[in-house]
């Protein structure tokens, strides 16, 4: 039984058909590379899994049980964490505040609960060190570089014990050393039996770390195979349409 099973997922926004009849299964400890050109539907698919939108048709099942997400918090409660392409950060808050946004740690007694700054700074610092990032927990996100902002968004996914981690272009704007760290993180997640979906335009990254490759073109799934059975040339052909499907 698959950890997550998408059956016949379609999504339209008014007259625009973003996804048509996409079925996908995720298993624990598996890294799935999701590739496709701009507008192919990758971000939409991943946002449906993360609970941002409901599908127009089709169903989602987790371990055989039907689930319906009405908001991102529902998906998080089922153990699904996501790093958005635009990172979803508040510029006017600190890095630690952004990591813990919506899940702030509090201390206190009874109904008088106060924010626990010390523990949040501490934990955020630990997460940044784990990612080999120099992001400082007390700094405002407004003043940060792209790589540091990326570290904040990825650190969020490490707060709970997720079953599925979705990453939308996580290596888009970071340095070489940090790319290696993100890929190592993805391998560590896999070792912990977490399913990872990696959306990326960077073919070497996807081939370095994925077990399986899924290609979307114009909202339809045109390939779903083991990475060892494919090649960068074949995937490029599938993305552009030179190869119809496999």
């Amino acid at each position: 039984m698959a950890l997550l099973e998408l059956s016949g997922i379609s999504k339209h926004f008014g007259a625009i058909q973003a996804l048509t009849n996409v079925s996908l299964a995720l298993n624990p400890g598996e890294v799935v590379g999701l590739m496709g050109d701009n507008g192919a539907g990758k971000s939409t698919l991943v946002k449906i899994i993360a609970g941002n939108y409901p599908p127009s048709h089709g169903s989602i099942q987790m371990l055989g049980r039907k689930v319906a997400f009405h908001k991102p918090a529902d998906a998080r409660a089922e153990g699904i964490e996501i790093v958005y392409q635009d990172l979803a950060l508040c510029d006017n808050l600190t890095a630690a505040a952004n990591v813990f946004l919506g899940r702030e740690l509090t201390t206190g007694f009874g109904s008088f609960r106060f924010l626990n700054y010390r523990t949040m700074y501490q934990r955020a610092a630990e997460l940044f060190a784990e990612l080999k990032s120099e992001t400082r927990p007390r700094d405002l996100v407004r003043r940060m570089s792209g790589g540091q902002r990326q570290a904040v968004a990825i650190a969020r996914t490490r707060l709970s014990e997720p079953k599925i981690v979705l990453m939308d272009e996580p290596t888009a704007s970071i340095s070489v050393r940090q790319v290696a760290e993100v890929l190592n993180l993805i391998r560590r997640l896999r070792d912990h039996d977490i399913a990872v979906v990696l959306i990326s335009h960077r073919m070497p990254d996807v081939f370095a770390v994925s077990d399986r490759i899924v290609v979307l073109r114009r909202g339809e799934k045109v390939a779903d195979k083991a990475i060892v059975a494919s090649s960068p040339e074949e995937v490029t052909g599938l993305i552009t349409g030179a190869i119809e499907s496999v």
């Binding site: 941002n52 908001k71 991102p72 918090a73 998080r76 958005y84 979803a88 950060l89 508040c90 510029d91 006017n92 808050l93 505040a97 946004l101 919506g102 899940r103 702030e104 509090t106 609960r113 106060f114 924010l115 610092a125 940044f128 060190a129 080999k132 120099e134 992001t135 400082r136 927990p137 007390r138 700094d139 405002l140 003043r143 969020r156």
Partner: protein, 341 residues
Amino acid sequence: MPMTLEESIHKQVHGNLLGWLVSRQTFWVSVAAVLAFVTLSLSSDVFATQQNLFNVTRNFAFVAIIALGMTAVIITGGIDLSVGAVLALSGMVIGMSMNTGTPFWLAVPLALGVSLLVGAFNGAMTAYVGMPSFVVTLGMLSIARSLAMVLSNNRMVYEFGPDQAQLLTLGGGFISVGLPFLNPVRIPNPVLFLVVMTLIVGLSFRWTKWGRHLFAIGGNEEAANLTGVPVRRVKLSVYMFCSLCAGIAGILEVGWLGTITTSLGQGMELTVIAAAVIGGANLTGGVGTAFGAVVGAALIEVIRNSLILLGISTFWQGTFVGSFIIVAVLFDRLRTRTAND
């Protein structure tokens, strides 16, 4: 020696307290307020007297109390134009109900309840229906003021039934604080309310989840939504809080004036917004402090008072206050722009 990763993570942008202070608009406005205070004390022998300070602090307390609520709303990226009308409505409700014999302990919750209702309407339309707060509160400004006038039946009321003394003491009374070697200092009740509310609001902004969520919504509402912040509930609560502040100020002001007129609080919303903005609240959202709201209101009142004491025509007040709004925010923009170069 190159820094280790741990060391570089634990460094902070501003090495010390002074560096941090100097970077904040509220600090500079406080400096301006202190300078104005000192200059006036030296150039006018009436300013620093107990009686004058008593009046100044009581005048600005009403604006400052509402500015606390307004700052909270501005932090979320919204605005509340109806506060002056809510002040009038709340004052009218308590005045009229006590005039017809309602006891004090019932009239106060009644007035506050009406204020909260207005706030709930503002909040619900903004948060759940998605209308711009400017439009909703602009409409409510007219509605609330007209309701206040309807309630008044166009009479001036100055009798407040059997509990009149309680109302007048609440707004117009004071406590005496004995100081060694000096005459006892009289602190007006509205100022006491202001101090307590500033402490509560300031602590909430910094130390509660609610406060953190206000700043998150103002910074990036979409991100707040995605990460599970209860955005609509928080927005509803903040508009209710702002109207509550206006309601409290309305009750206190009626107690102080001893009468209610339909022009109560007319145009006050602009002074309150000016106080919040001078104090450092950014109208695009995500920035603001409780202390800043109070300092902004204080500065405006000190300017007004100084013009009177220096014998300058009151018609000039608007020029000074308006110029100060522009200067305070311009100064801050220029400062942050050079810092980001």
